[in-house]
Symmetry: C2
Subunit: 409 residues, 2 copies
Amino acid sequence: MAKALPVSPLAPKGGFPALPAIGGVRFSTVAAGVRYAGRTDVMLAELQPGTTIAGTFTRSKTRSAPVLDCEVKLGREAQAGAAILVNSGNSNAFTGTRGVEAVRAVAAQVATTLGIPEARVFTSSTGVIGEPLPHERITAVIETLHDTLSGDGIADAARAIMTTDTYPKGSVRTAEIGGRTVTVAGIAKGSGMIAPDMGTMLVYVFTDARIGFDALQPLVKGACDSTFNCITVDSDTSTSDTLLVAATGASGIDVTDNPAFSTALTAVMDDLAKQVVRDGEGATKFVTVNVTGAASDADARLVAMSIANSPLVKTAIAGEDPNWGRIVMAVGKSGAEADRDRLTIRFGEVLVAQNGMVAPGYVEADAAAHMKGEEVMISVDLGLGSGALTVFTCDLTAQYIAINADYRS
Amino acid sequence: MAKALPVSPLAPKGGFPALPAIGGVRFSTVAAGVRYAGRTDVMLAELQPGTTIAGTFTRSKTRSAPVLDCEVKLGREAQAGAAILVNSGNSNAFTGTRGVEAVRAVAAQVATTLGIPEARVFTSSTGVIGEPLPHERITAVIETLHDTLSGDGIADAARAIMTTDTYPKGSVRTAEIGGRTVTVAGIAKGSGMIAPDMGTMLVYVFTDARIGFDALQPLVKGACDSTFNCITVDSDTSTSDTLLVAATGASGIDVTDNPAFSTALTAVMDDLAKQVVRDGEGATKFVTVNVTGAASDADARLVAMSIANSPLVKTAIAGEDPNWGRIVMAVGKSGAEADRDRLTIRFGEVLVAQNGMVAPGYVEADAAAHMKGEEVMISVDLGLGSGALTVFTCDLTAQYIAINADYRS
C-alpha cells in the first residue's frame, strides 16, 4: 500500500469488538518486513491437539499456492495439534514452483518449531500477485512467533493480516448449550478484489466448541453461501480467498447438529462479511440489494449481483441519485428471466416503479431523501416466482479509482 | 447531461470525417427540447422506396419500446419508402404502455408527413431511462424536419443523437465492384452503458448499394459479432442498443454475396465501434485485449471480457501500472477453462509472464514504458487450444465516476 488510507466512514461505530480468549487457541504477530515497513505482517495461531479445521476457498482457476495447499490438508490428521500462519503484503499467487516451495518452507518451519505434523499447518498469503514470496523473511521469525504466543492476541492478529483494509475486522457470538456457553470469534481482512466465489477473503473463525470435520465442513459451506458468497465490492474475485474455521473442543461441549451453535457461527460470518463490505475501497454507502419474486434462487443471484456489480448503479448511489433506470438496466442485462411489465422497484420504503413504469404518485424527493443516508436499500421484485436473495455491496467512488490506480506502483 | 464534458483525449485526431452524400438518403435535424436546451436532439433520415433495412438490437430483458417496435418491423414492406427518426435526451425505456403509445404517435406522424407506411418508420430514443417521453415535442417538429431534408445532413445527424458523447462519430468506406463504386457511411453514438449484447448503442449505416433483406441481415449480424460485440466500456448493457443498416440501392449496383461490400461494411462498423470506445466515459487509454490459445472461442470471449471489464485491471491501466497480477486474477475468475501453469501474458511486445510465473528476464520498466502510451495492448495466451478473440475497451478513471455520479441529478 503506497500510503495510509483514512478509515472508512462505514466502519463499525464501536471500533474493534472486545474478543475474548478462545480456549485452545493462542496467537502471536510480528513485523517480518515481507513488504510493508513499520507494521506487523505475519500472524500465527496455534491450535490444541484435536482441533477440527474446516474451510472453503476461492474457485478461481488461478488460485494461489497457499490455497491449493490448504485444500488438500483439510480433514487430515485431525487429532494432532495444528497451526494457521498468515502473511500480508504478498499473496504468493502466480509464483509457479517457487510459490509451492515457499509454502513448503514456511509450513515445515512452523511444524518443526511447534512439534506438529506439516499436514496440520495451514498458511495464507495476501497482497500483491505474481511476485515471489520472500519466505526466508517469514521462516526467520517463526521462533519469535512461537515464543510470544498468547491467548489474548486475536486483535493483534486481525491487524497483522490487513492490506488495503482501513480497519481490523472482528466478531464474536456465544451459544448457550445445556446451560453452558460456547464462544465463536472470528477475524477477517478484505477491502478490494471482493466478489467471493465459494470462499471469501481471508477469514479465520475460532471456537472452543467440539465438533468433528464431517459435521463442521457442511455447516461452514452452508453459512458461507448465505454470508460471504452474498457480498461484492468490485466484482473482482481474488486468487486467495480463504475461510478457515477451527473448533478446538476446549469447552468440552459437543455442538454436532446443534442449531444454537450453527446460528452463532453464521452470525459471526455474517458480521465479518458485512464488515468487509463496510471497508470496501472508497466506500461511502452500505448497500443492501433485496431480490424477490425471481423464477429461481439462481436467477435471484444473477439479478442481485448484476445490480450490485453495475458501475452505473454504484456511481449513481455515490451521487445520491435515485436513478432507478439503471436498476432496470441491470435487471435487463443479468441473463435472468425477467418481464419488464412485472417489475417492482423500491428505494428504502419508497415504491419507485411497478408494472413496467414509474409508480403512480412517485415523488423523486422521497427516494432522494433515502439515498442521502449511509445505508441504502434497493428492493426488486420480479413478480415471477419465489426465488430470492439478499446481497450486500457498497458504492463506487473516485476514491476507489485513486486507491487502485496507485496501489502497488 | 449536467454540464459540457471536455472532448475525449482519445478522439480521432482528424475530427469528424468528411462523409459524402449517399444516394437515396436525406437527413434533417432540429432542436425539439426533449430534454436538452440549446442543441439539436432529433434527427430524421428519409430513405428512398426499395431501401433494404437490416439491423440488430440489444438482448436486454428490459429493452425499450422503440427497440421492441423496430424488431417487428425489420424485413416488412421492403418496396416502400422508409424513415429513421432518433431522439436524444430520453430513451423511452421502462415507460410501460405510455412508451408504446409514444412510439406509435411519433411513427404515425412521420408516416403521414412523408407518405410512407408506418411499418417502415424506425424510431430510436436514447437518454434517461424511466421517464415518459414527451413525444408531443417530437411530433410538433416533424413537419419542420420534412421541410429541411438534405442529402448533406449526415454530420448534423451524428451530433443530434449524442448524449454523454464528447464528439460525434462517423465513418465511410467505398468498395469497387465491377469498375463502379458503392459507398458505405455510418454514424454512431455511445460513451457509457456500453457492453453491447448482439447489438450496440445507436448506430446507423447507409449505403447506396443494392441488396435484399435476406442477404443483408446475416451480413450485418456477422459483422456485428466481430465489431460492436467486441467492445465494452463499463460492462453495463443498454436497454436501447440499436444498429440499423439501410441499403438504398441508388447506385444500381447489386452487392449480394460481394466480399468487397462486406469488407467495406465491416470496416465502417469496426471504425465506429472503436470510436465509441475512444469516447468511453472518462477514458484516457485505448485498450486492446488479445486472447489466444483458449479451449474455445466462447472461452476466449469469457477471458477477454473478464479482463476488459475488471475494475481492478482498468484502474491499473489508468494508473499506468503494469499490474499483471490483476490479469491473472481476471483470467482466474472468468469461468473459462484455464491452467495457471500454461498462461502467457504480454503488455505490448513485452513478455511478462509464462508457465505460471513471471518471465525470466522480465524488467518492469519495459512494461511500464508501454503503459505510458495512449494505446495499451494486453495479450493473453492460455496455451490450451485455438480459441481466440480480440476486444477493445478503455481505462476506468475518476472522471467516469464524476460523470455518472452527476448525470441525471
